[in-house]
Symmetry: C2
Subunit: 201 residues, 2 copies
């Protein structure tokens, strides 16, 4: 027990990242000062620079880690057969993953314009890779004749915008439960591309 006041290296780093994510999501990157982040963690501003070279890296790392996690989780989905089942799975996954990480999602979608060019390019590439996994599903579905989409790129962006919008209103313990929300959005996504809805799971 009773420990010296110093040496909290293993926990301070993550706490700084968590505080930054929370404050960036709530007030925006530009509106949050390093002093505010430090205060939230309970250290002085100078101590932050033991864990990040500067404020910009803090933002870029948060966004990169979020997108890396998203891509990894998406790649780890169990294989399913047929475009309809794949779109259903993707929609439910997207909703669930985003519902669980509202702050990270908010930062990753809203702070792109505050990234320096090099960081922007890198983050944008990750986002594009994620979109491409959805577009591949839509292309396969169209080729198989089960989706009716005039333009797969447009449909991809429309679906992602619709699904991501869940983070604007969903609150834990609200009127609609998580599984319900996933099911409704998945059904709307399938309908939107002209697929026959899947039987309820």
């Amino acid at each position: 027990m009773a420990r010296k006041t110093g040496s909290h290296s293993e926990i301070t780093g993550p706490r700084i990242r968590a505080a930054a994510e929370h404050l960036f999501a709530r007030h925006g990157y530009a509106a949050v000062s390093m002093r505010q982040i430090a205060a939230e963690v309970g250290v002085q501003a100078g101590a932050l620079y033991l864990y990040t070279p500067d404020k910009q890296s803090l933002l870029a790392d948060l966004m990169r880690d979020h997108l890396d996690g998203l891509l990894a989780a998406c790649a780890a989905l169990p294989p399913v057969n047929g475009p309809e089942a794949r779109l259903d799975q993707f929609a439910r996954f997207h909703i669930g993953y985003h519902i669980d990480r509202p702050d990270a999602v908010f930062v990753a979608y809203m702070e792109l314009r505050n990234l320096e060019p090099a960081n922007f390019t890198a983050i944008e590439a990750l986002r594009r890779r994620y979109e491409n996994t959805l577009e591949a599903i839509l292309r396969d579905g169209r080729a198989a004749g089960v989706f009716a989409v005039p333009d797969t790129k447009l449909a991809t962006l429309a679906l992602i915008a619709m699904l991501t919008g869940v983070t604007n209103w969903y609150r834990e313990g609200g009127r609609l439960g998580r599984a319900e929300v996933e099911a409704i959005y998945a059904a709307m996504a399938l309908n939107a591309v002209g697929a026959s809805p899947l039987p309820t799971r």
Copy 2:
């Protein structure tokens, strides 16, 4: 001709608002300084305060004017018969209106968190009124048995998110024309709520 350097009252005000809207959209409210806005207009920073009491009012006024215009334009749509036609009309209107004002839309959707509480409440009420016009269409359609939506509130938010997403990628002179984009989105919206698509106009 040859006019004194002063007295540009009628044009400086709108130019300040236009510059602020553009810069806020591009870099975010918190990241833009009054000095930058003044520089864009070609006046000194102090002169801005002849046209706005402070920076916060500049933001709130931009957002309020945008939403007022949106509501007025929406209310002025010609009447059409039947939920499907009304949803089709709403979707095309929403896409078109948003495509024409990308900066205003961006600011109105992204800078809510930078509004002081009183301004936030007022702006949020306008946004809610707009959403309600869509929800009324969905409720009527469900009552008439032509839309299949488990929850009209959720469907409203999902559709608005999908439609508004167009501003993230649409560019004048791009691969897809404006009418094409409107038609595709409107068809996706109708599909999403389980309506039979309208015959192509």
